[in-house]
Symmetry: C2
């Protein structure tokens, strides 16, 4: 049985400040958690039904597994439909992987506010083989239970770090990486040269890329609307724009190879 | 002042069945509604503050304009932040525009459940100059207040029709349009031939394209993950996939021209 204190602790992980204090976040559901067993994410505690406990791979000896009732699970779950398993996981260290960043594509998010957009971007980064995402400190928090679930496990394969973008882009200068950013006056994404490594900066939903970062963008690009010149939506949703850009970067490599 | 009955009527438009009975939906906010003045969407009633009323273009003589307090607006608004203007609009006729469909790209949505996905798809269709979207009858409803707002005005420039897809795709046969659909075993989107007209069928979030439509898809395509062969997310969000596909169709034309 789950103690009241434990339930209270898990509930409190809905709040960023409590995740920060404890260094712990919540992941839910069989599909997601069984993926984590194969990943670099460290699970500390599992609460699950007897049936699910019996199929947990035996090599996970350092995880505390507590068998609880479906009723108890409904008390700790953040989901609408109660899962058979809930896990507490350790938030990974917040260190950018420069070794990978300097030789591949990296997404840089400038104050993405909407948790749904962040989750979608992590999932599509995983699809397009982008292993690193740098978030400004003003971005939505990846470890929010809703964001974690919405990435559908992608968060375990993509490093997400929270940093001052000024500082990050400053440090990145030594590697002479092109820094892409979308601007209305940018070059046509489809016809401009694209490199196989570099940083892709995506701006806030309402305000785009911060003025303070403007000088750090070396390659201004633009997704052209079609057929051009007509009245259309003023912008694309940021997750959609990120997908179109990442797709085009990868297409160039796929079509060359 | 707004009568209780009027407030009750507007509230009831949150429900699809009430929108169906009345043929009316709600749009909110200056930016959105002023865009509608220029569109084919017919506004019947406006509730707004004195300030906003004074800037409504004078040629809108067939609209009933009622000046109300900000407090009254907060009573009828579905938004978190009360807007200065709320409009009631007529749901357009549900007739597919075959003249346009037979010579351009059309998006066909098979049971897209999530209102957010639908809103995002309408907005990106507008960006990529796709003027027609056909929704199966099981799709989320465009005229839900949340979806209308999330399209950011794009709904006024894109025709969205709700039809039986079996029947629609059956009728479309006479125009010999290619019918694209995404399947794991489909051809690589980036390297396969793409036509400048045709139907792009996108499947339900969980189940993909219905088995019953399978035989009506003439061109199976696939968005390749990168670098391929690695474990990655199992799928892309349906709005993301739609964006990547539409972008690639339009890129072919832009790069040729």
């Amino acid at each position: 049985m789950l103690t009241k204190n434990k339930i209270k602790l898990i509930h409190s992980l809905d709040q960023k400040k409590n995740r920060k204090i404890t260094g712990i976040f919540v992941a839910e559901g069989e599909k997601l958690i069984f993926d984590l067993f194969e990943s670099k994410i460290k699970i500390t505690d599992i609460y699950c039904t007897k049936e699910v406990a019996s199929v947990i791979p035996k090599n996970n000896t350092d995880i505390i597994i507590e068998i609880v009732s479906k009723e108890d699970l409904s008390r700790i779950s953040f989901l609408k439909t109660t899962p058979e398993i809930v896990a507490l996981c350790r938030i990974p260290e917040n260190l950018p992987n420069w070794d990978a960043i300097k030789r591949d594509l990296t997404i840089v998010l400038d104050d993405i506010q909407d948790p749904g957009n962040l989750g979608t971007i992590v999932r599509l980064a995983d699809w397009f083989g982008i292993k690193n995402i740098i978030c400004s400190e003003g971005c939505a928090d990846l470890y929010n239970p809703k964001v974690i679930q919405s990435t559908m496990g992608a968060f375990a394969r993509v490093n997400v770090n929270y940093l001052s973008l000024q500082q990050f882009l400053g440090e990145a200068k030594q590697y002479e990486l092109p820094v892409y950013g979308t601007f209305l006056e940018g070059e046509n994404l489809y016809t401009t040269d694209l490199t196989s490594k570099g940083l892709i900066v995506m701006g806030n939903e309402g305000n785009g890329i911060s003025d303070s970062l403007d000088g750090l963008i070396s390659r201004k690009i633009n997704i052209p609307s079609y057929p051009g010149g007509e009245i259309t939506s003023e912008s694309l949703n940021v997750a959609i724009a990120t997908a179109v850009i990442c797709s085009e970067f990868r297409r160039r490599i796929i079509c060359k190879g």
